[in-house]
């Protein structure tokens, strides 16, 4: 070869090698539309303090200035700004700052009043002894952004809209147990129930109130397409809608007439829509964005190197789990499901692969919940011998020596569906796949897209196993959603699990509002589930929020909405 050709040849080779090396690093991480269906209802109801892990946001006694703008990076574009018809958490975030629900859930996972004077409880008589009557006393100093006073008529209108047959409200669980809503005067609302809905207050927390004077005359069939659901103007919240550039950003400004004195402190909040995780991180670094929510574990190291950005990490009340189809012939055997739970190392997985960023999970109720009981929970230790023993005793043996156990013509070989897009998920599944192969269980990882998982596989039972996370757990009554036999009330029992004894306990726990009784019953339920698990839980999702130091006042609310106290935020340069 001539000299110049050879030179070029080597140069090209070098460039190619460099390319391959770097190209393997960054990939666009589409924040999969998984936020859609998994996150609907609001958070848990426990009253114990929840200490956020690794919280680095301190309350500095420095001078808090009024005014200023905070820029939030949204990883998805909101669609409709009303809890009951949107499936997106980002929409609920926006709805909560432009408008308000009757009550909210704070960072300590306690109910706090928003539009009411106090949260109804058994003690103050707001909830009747039998749990069938809820009385709310509304504040009398609240006005909509257009000046109209907020009254009980708005609340009743909201309820009527949720239950209207022509309204594309998503699930109506719990709402259809209400027999009537009374409004004896402008500032009192009474909900009458036919059967106890122990999770009612949780459901209320994501329902922002509709303005009856704006939407009252609109035919319900046309209601969901009304502009109000895209602007929340007028609303009841600390911020007012200014503009929404589709696909680009949303701008909201301070409501000077907000009913709490001195709040909000900020002048404006800009919500930029940036779907790529890398771009979001870049903008955090350049300061074009002050904060973002729901950041994934793989960006943590990068964020930690950015000087004026702090990382606030909180354990969510939402667990990662492997949904197991209990109607699959092999998986219907409780011994198999138990063996699967003992057959892999949760601690090893979370400490090494996930670098300690995630806490192991063993069931659906988070440790921060009042219904959680350490004694009752079966914390499956990594015990492959026990797993093998369980399988042997149940008759699952590897006869043909291929490493996979069989019995009566069925093999312990399954397809596990994974939502494509996040490398970490594949790593987790590969880890588990490897360890399960040592107890004679084979899984094949199949990548599908969000819509196939949530729109086809899970709802129609068209799968063996699926890896995903469960929605943010509301009141533990939602435990019933995942475990009640499918023929009972509408359930999220994707695993088609059915244990009639468990049903009795779960239904009894829902039928009373006495928290001690319920906690007792849930402990029993947890024990039962521990012996006969439906699914394989992996770990509690960790919510990472990188936030610029100039923003003060952010408090993560793991069971609720990230921007729940946006009116208390301020900036300090």
């Amino acid at each position: 070869m001539s000299k110049s050709k050879r030179f070029l040849y080597w140069l090209t080779l070098l460039m190619l090698v460099a390319l391959v090396a770097t190209a393997c690093g960054q990939q666009p991480v589409p924040n999969a539309g998984e936020e859609n269906t998994a996150d609907t209802d609001a958070g848990a109801t426990n009253t114990e303090a929840e200490t956020p892990a690794d919280s680095e946001v301190e309350e500095e006694p420095a001078a808090e200035t009024n005014g200023g703008t905070v820029t939030v990076g949204l990883h998805q574009e909101p669609n409709l700004l009303w809890g009951p018809i949107t499936g997106l958490t980002v929409s609920q975030e926006l709805a909560n700052i432009l408008n308000r629900p009757l009550i909210m859930i704070n960072d300590q996972i306690e109910y706090v009043p928003a539009l009411v004077t106090e949260v109804p409880t058994l003690e103050n008589g707001g909830i009747s002894e039998d749990g069938l009557v809820y009385t709310f006393h509304l504040r009398d100093d609240v006005t909509w952004h257009d000046g109209t006073p907020f009254t009980s008529a708005d609340v009743r209108f909201t309820y009527e809209t949720i239950t209207h047959p022509d309204m594309p409200v998503r699930g109506r669980v719990g709402w259809n147990q209400i027999t009537s809503v009374e409004t004896p005067d402008d500032h009192t609302v009474i909900f009458n129930f036919e059967t106890v809905d122990a999770a009612f207050l949780d459901r209320l927390a994501i329902v922002t109130i509709l303005p009856e004077h704006v939407l009252g005359e609109v035919p319900p069939a046309e209601l969901s397409t009304h502009e109000w659901f895209r602007t929340n103007n007028p609303g009841l919240g600390p911020f007012r809608f200014v503009e929404w550039q589709p696909g680009n950003y949303i701008l909201v400004e301070r409501n000077p007439d907000y009913f709490v004195e001195g709040l909000p402190k900020l002048d404006q909040i800009v919500l930029k829509i940036i779907t790529d995780a890398n771009t979001l991180t870049n903008q955090l670094e350049t300061g074009e964005v002050d904060m973002r929510f729901r950041m994934l574990n793989d960006q943590v190291e990068i964020i930690e190197q950015i000087p004026n950005v702090e990382l606030v990490s909180t354990a969510a009340t939402s667990p990662w789990l492997i949904w197991v189809n209990n109607e699959n012939p092999a998986l219907s055997d409780p011994a198999v499901r138990l063996a699967l739970n003992y057959g892999f190392d949760r601690n090893g997985l979370t400490q090494t692969l996930l670098r300690g960023l995630v806490e192991p999970a063993y069931n659906l109720i988070p440790p921060s919940s009042w219904a959680y009981s350490e004694e009752a929970v079966e914390a499956y230790a990594y015990d492959p011998d026990r797993a093998r023993q369980l399988l042997d005793e149940a008759g699952w043996v590897d006869e043909n020596g291929d490493g996979v156990r069989e019995k009566d013509g069925e093999t312990l070989s399954f397809d596990i569906l994974n939502i494509a897009g996040e490398p970490e998920r594949v790593q987790i599944l590969s880890f588990i796949q490897d360890q399960w192969s040592e107890i004679g269980v084979q899984v094949n990882i199949q990548n599908v897209d969000v819509a196939t998982m949530w729109g086809d596989a899970l709802p129609s039972g068209n799968y063996d196993m699926g890896y995903s996370y469960s929605g943010r757990l509301a009141d533990p009554a939602d435990l019933a959603q995942h475990y009640l036999c499918p023929d009972k009330q509408p359930t999220t029992n994707w695993g088609l699990y059915c244990n009639p004894e468990l049903d009795e306990i779960l239904l009894a726990a829902q039928a009373t509002v006495n928290q001690t009784e319920r906690a007792d019953l849930y402990a029993q339920a947890l024990e039962m589930i521990g012996q006969n698990p439906a699914y394989v839980f992996i770990g509690w999702r960790t919510d990472h929020t990188p936030i610029n130091q100039r923003v003060q006042g952010y408090k993560p609310a793991p069971g609720f909405i990230e921007m729940w106290n946006a009116e208390e935020w301020s900036v300090q340069e």
Partner: protein
């Protein structure tokens, strides 16, 4: 004229067939839009209600006819996800995508033509080798990598360019601001076209340079510069016209990845979203618009070709 009329008449059944195929594909995709919208808490009653309200409870042919009738009267349906008329959802985004694509195509033209010509006529070996290598790089480098690298270097490290978006928020329309935001994504998009087009121009030039009339022009004693630019280049560029015309459809939806990386508020990103949430009305409308633009682009290319080259008779 006959040609034009005939082509327009052909366009209609073409688009109809395209819409049928699209609709079929959309129906075949696993994952029910209603189940996705309704979410995990919905029971059978809720599901039935949502299916009715979204209009997906009807059998597929009925849905198709309904959609067709709507389109004929200008109603493209209501987006499932946004509960807004599809036209509204698309309109502002289409404009943004058009901006981006047009800038990218113009940039590509400006760079590809001289580049291709140079690599064709240059006598030096290193020029030819370098141009081949660069072209190959341009085609092989993935858009998202290029985009992220560009952002990392020019935006994060050097702070020369913004990290995405199409304008600074809160600023009134400012030409310079828009331009600065456009450079990044447009360059990234243009790379692929530059690489492909420059090779095309090069081979077209090489082809033309061996033609008799070029030899004649040289024999006449014309300066090399005039031979190349007045005679050869014009003819060499003709096939490029067709290529550009075929880009018609891409004008609106062709920049999905770039738009995601640069947070550009265009149709590409909307398409990505709508695909994951199975938002059929938006998908159908967006793809039909792309099909329409492709047909129109093709037609425009043919007409332009016929107009530029007097030897070609359009029949």
């Amino acid at each position: 004229m006959n040609f034009l009329v005939r082509r327009l008449l052909f366009a209609l059944p073409t688009l109809l067939v395209v819409s049928l195929i699209l609709f079929g594909l959309v129906q075949l995709a696993p994952g029910s839009a209603a189940a996705l919208y309704a979410g995990p808490d919905a029971g059978p009653e809720d599901m039935a209600r949502i299916e009715r309200l979204l209009g997906v409870d009807q059998p597929a042919p009925v849905q198709y006819v309904k959609w067709l009738r709507g389109v004929a009267s200008g109603e493209w349906g209501i987006s499932f996800r946004y509960q807004q008329p599809v036209t509204q959802v698309l309109s502002s985004r289409i404009f943004n995508s058009l901006q981006l694509m047009t800038a990218a195509l113009l940039l590509a033209l400006i760079v590809a033509v001289p580049f291709g010509v140079l690599s064709a006529i240059s006598k030096r070996a290193w020029v030819k080798h370098l141009s081949s290598v660069l072209a190959m790089l341009g085609i092989s480098i993935p858009t998202f990598w290029l985009g992220i690298m560009l952002l990392l270097i020019f935006s994060v490290r050097l702070r020369l360019l913004p990290s995405g978006g199409n304008s600074t928020i809160g600023m009134d329309f400012n030409l310079y601001d828009r331009f600065i935001h456009l450079i990044g994504p447009a360059s990234v998009l243009a790379t692929l076209y530059i690489a492909g087009w420059s090779r095309y121009v090069r081979s077209s030039m090489l082809d033309v340079m061996t033609q008799d009339y070029v030899r004649t022009a040289r024999a006449k004693g014309l300066a090399e510069r005039i031979v190349i630019f007045r005679h050869a280049l014009r003819n060499a560029l003709l096939p490029l016209v067709t290529l550009i015309g075929l880009q018609g459809g891409n004008l609106v939806g062709g920049a999905m990845i770039t738009e995601v990386v640069f947070a550009w508020p265009g149709v590409g990103r909307l398409l990505a979203e709508s695909l994951t949430s199975r938002d059929y009305p938006v998908l159908m409308a967006a793809f039909m618009i792309m099909a329409l633009l492709t047909v129109a682009g093709n037609l425009a290319a043919d007409l332009t070709y016929g107009w530029i080259d007097p030897r070609i008779k359009l029949e």
